[in-house]
Symmetry: D2
Subunit: 430 residues, 4 copies
């Protein structure tokens, strides 16, 4: 079960005030080079280009998820709830701390273009020849595997999984509060202390006692507001699109044999789909930005233009459409092409729905994938929360997204005379 530190270690944290470390294993994990690397991966990817304060890293967030998990468990222990398996404390804390270890630079874009998954990388780092693996093995030989299986949701105690990964887990609670703090918006604040007090371990799940329903409503409302005002912000989407295009273009020309003036090994391996854990360790946002700075000087005009746009924040503009209209989009694309714009790089249609977020999906009790939030009513009845809460039921089915068409404004302006007046008007040009 690991050793307790002689003297508790304390980190000052803007969101939780302090983060307390009592276990030697946790302390040693924080000090591995793989965990320290998370300082070089931003928590919110390109969001800092929209909200300049959002420059915080996955390092801070990971400590926060650990701290919330520690608080939940400590409250379970203090209350002597019989349904909490005490021996699962350390594995839960480690999984909470390490769950984001496999994130690469600007993860969402990389994952889309190169079809990787950060959970897989997390597990590889836990299980292969790394400092993290060595620390975990001091607990027991199968400990790295146990931590990995919590993160991959195959662990045999579902209550541990649901601490770290569910619709109201420590991960989401930390990122809502933290992202709200660093962006400076005040939509994301909810009463964490109160949420923690209404959680109960019950029959292998973490549930909410009935009187806590309004606290959960408050939390889901925060989530709703954060998604629409921060996570789906169209300017952030624009920078994500530029980034995705950079990766797509670089891979495309690499495959065609383009001779890069500068191409660091991790990038080459990524293009070839044969990254090792060692390469992956090098792959942080410092490297990505350095590479983009140099690609800005490459011969390939599209790549060079995209990199300048990203580094100097000259993003694509957008227009908004309420409805899906593929015929219209085909017309626009064809007109762009005729006018000399690149149909794959100078026009991108985006719909926020296909994103790894959702406000809340009820799901079924017992569902593996996304277990719903359950209220414990009358001592022993479990009720899915949207059955009790009108407001949660209201927001559950909402599809609020609109379509956005992103494009390079000044390039389009130059060619405006080659575009049909009707389409031109759509893009706000006379």
């Amino acid at each position: 079960m690991g050793y307790i530190l002689e003297e508790e270690k304390v980190f000052k944290d803007p969101v939780h005030k302090y983060i307390y470390v009592q276990d030697e294993t946790i302390w040693n994990l924080i000090n591995t080079k793989e965990f320290q690397r998370l300082r070089r991966i931003r928590q919110l990817g390109t969001t800092y280009l929209t909200f300049h304060g959002a420059e915080h890293s996955r390092f801070s967030h990971s400590l926060g998820v650990y701290e919330i998990t520690r608080k939940i468990i400590s409250q379970f222990e203090r209350s002597h709830y019989p349904d909490w398996p005490k021996e699962e404390k350390l594995v839960s804390l480690c999984a909470a701390l390490l769950h984001d270890l496999g994130h690469g630079p600007f993860s969402h874009s990389i994952e889309e273009v190169f079809e990787t998954h950060h959970e897989e990388w997390t597990c590889r780092i836990l299980l292969e020849d790394t400092d993290v693996n060595r620390v975990l093995r001091t607990v027991s030989d199968d400990f790295p595997q146990r931590v990995a299986s919590v993160i991959c949701k195959t662990y045999d105690k579902p209550i541990v999984i649901s601490l770290v990964s569910s619709q109201m887990d420590a991960d989401r609670m930390d990122y809502l509060l933290r992202d709200a703090y660093y962006t400076g918006v005040n939509y994301g604040t909810f009463d964490l202390d109160r949420i923690l007090r209404v959680l109960r371990p019950y029959q292998g799940r973490i549930v909410v006692k009935e009187s806590g329903m309004h606290a959960v409503e408050d939390y889901l409302m925060s989530r709703y507001q954060m998604y629409w005002q921060v996570y789906f912000h169209p300017v952030t989407r624009s920078s994500e699109i530029i980034l995705r295009q950079i990766f797509r273009r670089a891979k495309e020309i690499y495959m065609k044999g383009y001779n890069f003036q500068m191409l660091s090994k991790p990038f080459r391996m990524m293009f070839e789909g044969s990254l090792t854990v060692d390469d992956y360790f090098q792959l942080d946002e410092a490297l990505a930005q350095t590479v983009f700075m140099q690609w800005a000087e490459e011969q390939d005009e599209i790549l060079s233009d995209l990199c300048k746009r990203f580094m100097h924040r000259r993003l694509y503009k957008y227009i908004t459409m309420d409805e899906k209209d593929e015929t219209l989009w085909a017309t626009i694309r064809q007109q762009f092409e005729t006018a000399g714009l690149h149909p794959d790089y100078h026009l991108e249609i985006d719909f926020p729905f296909d994103l790894p977020y959702d406000v809340y999906r009820p799901g079924k009790i017992g569902s593996e994938e996304k277990p719903p939030i359950l209220l414990l009513c009358d001592q022993d009845q479990l009720v899915e929360i949207s059955e009790k809460s009108d407001i949660i039921r209201s927001i559950t089915g909402l599809h609020l997204g609109k379509y956005h068409l992103y494009y390079p404004e000044e390039k389009l302006s130059e060619k405006a005379h080659l575009i049909d007046p009707e389409i031109r008007k759509l893009f706000g040009m006379a």
Copy 2:
């Protein structure tokens, strides 16, 4: 004097809530690539290794300094104070926004090792062939020079200089509040609104009306607390030392002809003392970190060890001494050398006094260098604030620093048997 934007632009900011841009020149300056580069320079250098939340950039800070300056001027204008020269508004706002433009990656260390000054670089960027220069010249041909002379403190209207650079200027007010916010400490908060309300332009200076004395006390107390708890934190000092040693070592071996596996052009130019503005533009913290990652694999053991320490946060430990004792230090140094440690890299004595900070120095009225904070008493008398405030007088003369000796703990442990028992005990070893 520049155009007003048709629609005010607004940035969400965690410290000031919102930052408002009304002038087209300001908006265009923010969008230059040189100003966007400040997103890749951290405001507090290596402090994030001590306070993990302190990951904010000079970009955010620069916007904040601009906003405070805007608020001060706007209050001067609303109150129709006759001593405020209205035609100086735009030059003041530009100087506020751009005053940190010349900061390099981890500035303080670079400046010490390479004897550069960020103010000089700021002025070069303002005056040479850059996007910033082009935007400034749209106002008038001599406008870049005017902005530069405010920043270099040679402008002929001292009131403008004192807005941007004095003992209670917009720069310090923003960084105290911002650094407190991002580190999460609450020492640095003072009542900005109240400070702004008690400032008065008066005979070419910015002074404080008498009833504002307690507000200034509160501000100086914040400064005092921040210096001792954040800016002079010994762990931050340790990381600064590592960084300085990296630069020192790299330059040293470069001069001796060491063949680097990787050495990007801006670094080479810096070693040779012939950086151009173009090179300087490349020199951001992404590049520095990428270079350090690669130097961690260099043959030179000292450089490689230092880079690993910095990147993986394996800092030097320290012991504290109340008194200066050069004889003792010489003994320690000699013993370290005998034991096989490197006397220039494995031991460093640090005293926080030689830092660009001080809590408050009264100085003389009329002094050019650091004009004191003046109270406006009985309508027309200027009194240096520490004459009136006992508490400010109390903290003015304080020398609180202690000496710290930094060293690589595990290397010293290995060699402990070669060290005199007395010295060993000093370092906490049996």
Copy 3:
């Protein structure tokens, strides 16, 4: 239109930081004895018995409503919106400041029992022989009447009415923020600065520019949370019921000729329905509490018991019912009576619906009573907000209330053996 103060007056305020007074009329109104009386009327009535921090007065709130109104108008003036009638500034500010002047002690209960309305009293105080009237008349002879007609919603400029009284007026914005601050809950916080920035005067109304929709959603969500967690809190309802019963009982026995040991004149006049403005001025919460303290010693057992309950916080307990069931309630009432409890005082059924609050009601554009919140879309189209916002549409129709039955627990326990087992069980007794 009134004089400007030579030096702006400033009040420190926990919610808005500072409250600024520039007009002499406003300053003089604040210093009238009728406005100072509001310090002795709590903003949230009996809520301090549930949330102990909620001890703030209508004085603080009135200053807050004034300040928000001042900010809105000042933004309208700065932006030179043509649809804002500048000459209406002072009347708007006065109406904002004075709108709650007629509130009595624990208003809601008094209004219910004695069928008075605080708006009527506000207008009487504005128009009869009072210090407030004298100050208003210094502006012009018809000024008291103009201010009164804004408050009574008969003023001929609807835009002024909607500043002070609409579904998103300065009154509601202040009380949500203030009540959240003093109770200590964090549901009620929304981004006031942002709301203020999206308001526009438009064709005699105050509307919201389209991009402000999410800010309004956030505000309405806060309102929703505050209603269910603070304003409708069943413990607060319990204390309101006790209070209402005190007033009801006192009047009842007074009418029957009961000889009170102590009955101050304003109370006697209130029982007789012939209160003068002078009596009303005496009627504050200090007097009400003093009277209750003495009534606690009266011969009438019911009155004495109720007063002790209120003063020593021995409130009625409650049980909750989802559905309306008048047959069951009649049975309970009859059983209570049989057991010797008083059917009118020892049982009270409460449903939060019949309260002067609602989260949001769309209403029709142009409706006099409760004009809806309108979005200004595409420069010139007004759309009722719930047509655009799914989330607002969702909460608009919600009926979340449950029925609560309040009763004196220890009295019921004593008589439990006289009650049917089924009913007994309903009240949680064996």
Copy 4:
């Protein structure tokens, strides 16, 4: 040792977020009528006339002191410090909760005029025939006496006394934070969590571990700022003076046989110096304000004028003098008298020094009265904090007070022509 509640009770608190009650004794004490009476006594007396937000009661503060004490003890227990006597928990919590029970309305003024002491009244309420006494006796027969002796500082375990009453006790920590919150100033905030973490029970005292020195500095700086900006605010002093004069005048004329139209029993008993605990229970601020409202209509002009001034906030104005000058004051007094002003009521000289506050006084180790704050250095050395901290040493000896002369401005104006020009000028009159 009292019983533990089956389910923890929780109060929402704006300062501490939540207040937790686990002991049945504490719960029952809170529900006594004597403790509920504290809701009708303001924490900051007349300060709400200067800072309108400061309307909070001693009820809230008492819960806060309890909560801080609970947190300190709970940290001592978690850390298993051997020097903490565990059996003292309940007596400490009760003393913390009840320490202010004996405060009357506007205590400081009443205590000065009638020479009573709230600690004495606290002990009488604990020990005589009251609900509080009955609850305490359920623990043990001598328990009321034990709690009382902690409050009177005669308890035989000094560590318990120092929790509740010392220079850094739970009382002061709560009031600084709470008064800062409700007034809205931000001087009074310090890092409570951090202070709590550095406290240690050590040899019958509570001391501070050495590394906590800066946290204590921060706390003392807050105290310094609060005293000068809130507690000693000259406008608050003005209202205290009016209040003192009301009490003084009423007693004076009562003694001379004046026939009051209204004089409630507790006031009569107070004038005669024979208050019982039952009378004292009636004596709250609701009663005081009701009585003042009626005295405003009394025949005695001085009493009537003072009461109107207090109720309608028409306070005395003041002039400030740096130096003590009794000759000058005698002249002024004599001139006032000649001009027909009352020398005892229309002129009052005030010096903030004679107040129950001080920023910090070192005192001697072992001093009974005001034990100093001690640092625990090198495991086992106790050092008085101002020996180590320059900043604390600096503020320790400061005498910042100025003399203020309070007087009724409009009365003086009327008589200005009867006053010497020199004196007139002193009072700002031509």
